[in-house]
């Protein structure tokens, strides 16, 4: 059933018609603004989907689709990566994390290289897998490095709760989880950016609900559209955003109705509220953003890797020449970086934006490095 729906959402004929309509509407908007509209996709998965489907290229003359800081791997700070690498060196420790985290450069090396040199670092697809490793290795410390925004944080939360229920004392969460609105608030008012509207992250919104984003219109006067990921969903979201802008209606609307509810997922929101406190967070590129990082509550300290294995926080400089910071802010594109595709590439990334499948540099490298 859903199979058929997905097929329609990918229908090339419908897509080409929709693209035509969007282009026409965007051109009206360009006329109105006297320049192409600046639309930021906050979410890395959107960045990747827009490139992969060719939509960025198709719409380029009509709208500037800017990529935002919405890749949780990319915004992880050197300081945290260095600390996790240090934990990987502890005798008996097993680091479990998502594949993308493996290649994120710390100040000297990556988890991938440390693994090659003998550290026990395992790629998992779920925090549940990390918990299973902890069950199988009761004598070893399993540190799950959780990264991700509101979509992923609840999965880590319920896994920690499961560890508590099982009385599992060798499972620890190193939480790099972050929430998105503070970063938006830190970023969007920047006058250099001139963002006209936002494509809002569809999968974050699954959890948070549409209403979560009302601060955009309320506090910043910006329109936003919660977007899905299929070609037609992406195009219709851009279309909706263009309509809002043409109508000068700076509201937040939901164009991903099959998945996103007004109120989000209350169970998931509850789990986050039960397990996490908000603290200031280190965002690569954005620096310290207040109340943006999800850290385990004090009562969960026995399962908190940062509490259990305290390490000095040494600051480290980002690699010379890397523009990740500016790119995460949407102020520069990868093409502005002198290292892009010449010294920095997915196989040997310099900055984190070249690491994740959804990193802006990696996406542009993979899909848009050359044009035809």
């Amino acid at each position: 059933m859903h199979k058929e729906i997905l097929k329609r959402f990918r229908d090339p004929e419908l897509g080409r018609q929709m693209a035509g309509r969007v282009r026409e509407r965007l051109d009206r908007l360009t006329d109105r603004l006297g320049r192409r509209a600046n639309v930021m996709e906050f979410c890395g998965t959107h960045t990747a989907a827009i490139s992969r489907t060719g939509i960025r290229e198709l719409l380029k003359p009509h709208v500037h689709l800017m990529s935002g800081p919405g890749c949780p791997v990319c915004v992880s700070d050197y300081v945290d990566i260095d600390r996790i690498i240090a934990l990987a060196g502890m005798s008996g420790a097993i680091i479990a994390t998502f594949g993308d985290m493996m290649k994120v450069p710390g100040s000297r090396t990556t988890l991938l290289e440390e693994k090659a040199r003998g550290a026990d670092v395992r790629v998992v697809f779920s925090s549940l897998d990390a918990l299973a490793i902890a069950r199988e290795n009761p004598d070893r410390a399993i540190i799950f490095v959780g990264a991700g925004f509101e979509t992923t944080a609840p999965t880590a939360a319920v896994t920690v709760e499961q560890a508590v229920r099982e009385g599992r004392d060798n499972f620890f969460l190193y939480s790099l989880h972050k929430i998105t609105p503070p970063a938006m608030m830190a970023l969007l008012p920047d006058p250099d950016l001139q963002v006209d509207g936002i494509l809002l992250p569809g999968h974050v919104s699954l959890i948070t609900g549409r209403g979560y984003w009302d601060f955009l219109s309320r506090d910043l006067g910006l329109p936003g559209v919660v977007a899905g990921f299929e070609p037609l969903e992406l195009l219709s979201a851009v279309d909706a955003l263009a309509s809002l802008l043409l109508e000068e209606r700076y509201a937040v609307i939901n164009a991903y109705g099959r998945a996103v509810r007004e109120e989000g997922n209350p169970s998931a929101l509850d789990a986050m509220a039960r397990c996490f406190d908000l603290q200031e967070g280190h965002w690569r590129g954005l620096g310290i953003v207040p109340a943006s990082a999800l850290k385990l509550k004090p009562e969960l300290a026995p399962w908190d890797a940062e509490v259990r294995f305290p390490l000095e926080k040494r600051s480290a400089a980002p690699p010379k020449g890397c523009l990740c910071g500016e790119i995460l802010k949407g102020k520069k594109t990868p093409f502005d970086c002198p290292l892009f595709a010449s010294g920095c590439e997915p196989a040997r990334p310099v900055g984190p934006c070249m690491v994740s499948h959804e990193g802006t540099c990696a996406t542009y490298y993979r899909y848009e490095r050359f044009t035809r």
């Binding site: 018609q17 929709m18 992923t152 997922n265 169970s267």
Partner: protein, 78 residues
């Protein structure tokens, strides 16, 4: 990273902590804690090993209908 793929729940394990889901013939086990209201037959989005939301087919069909109407209107109008 924030990838989420639609799958159909084919079985719910005792306790409701885990479910078996199926997607184009591929089956796997996912955590169900975050959508306790889900039942066998529901389509869910799966992220990082957990079902994170139940998909609303009606809403999906509504979207499709809306697009088709808009586009045929546009054509008619063109």
């Amino acid at each position: 990273m924030c990838l989420a793929a639609p799958s159909r729940i084919t079985a719910i394990q005792e306790g409701g902590f885990l479910a078996e889901v199926e997607s184009f013939g591929n089956k796997r086990t996912v955590g169900l804690t975050l959508v306790p209201e889900a039942k066998v037959g529901d389509y869910v989005l799966v992220h990082a090993g957990f079902a994170v939301q139940i998909l609303d087919e009606e809403a999906a069909l509504d979207s499709l209908k809306a697009w088709e109407e808009i586009l045929s209107a546009a054509k008619g109008g063109a």
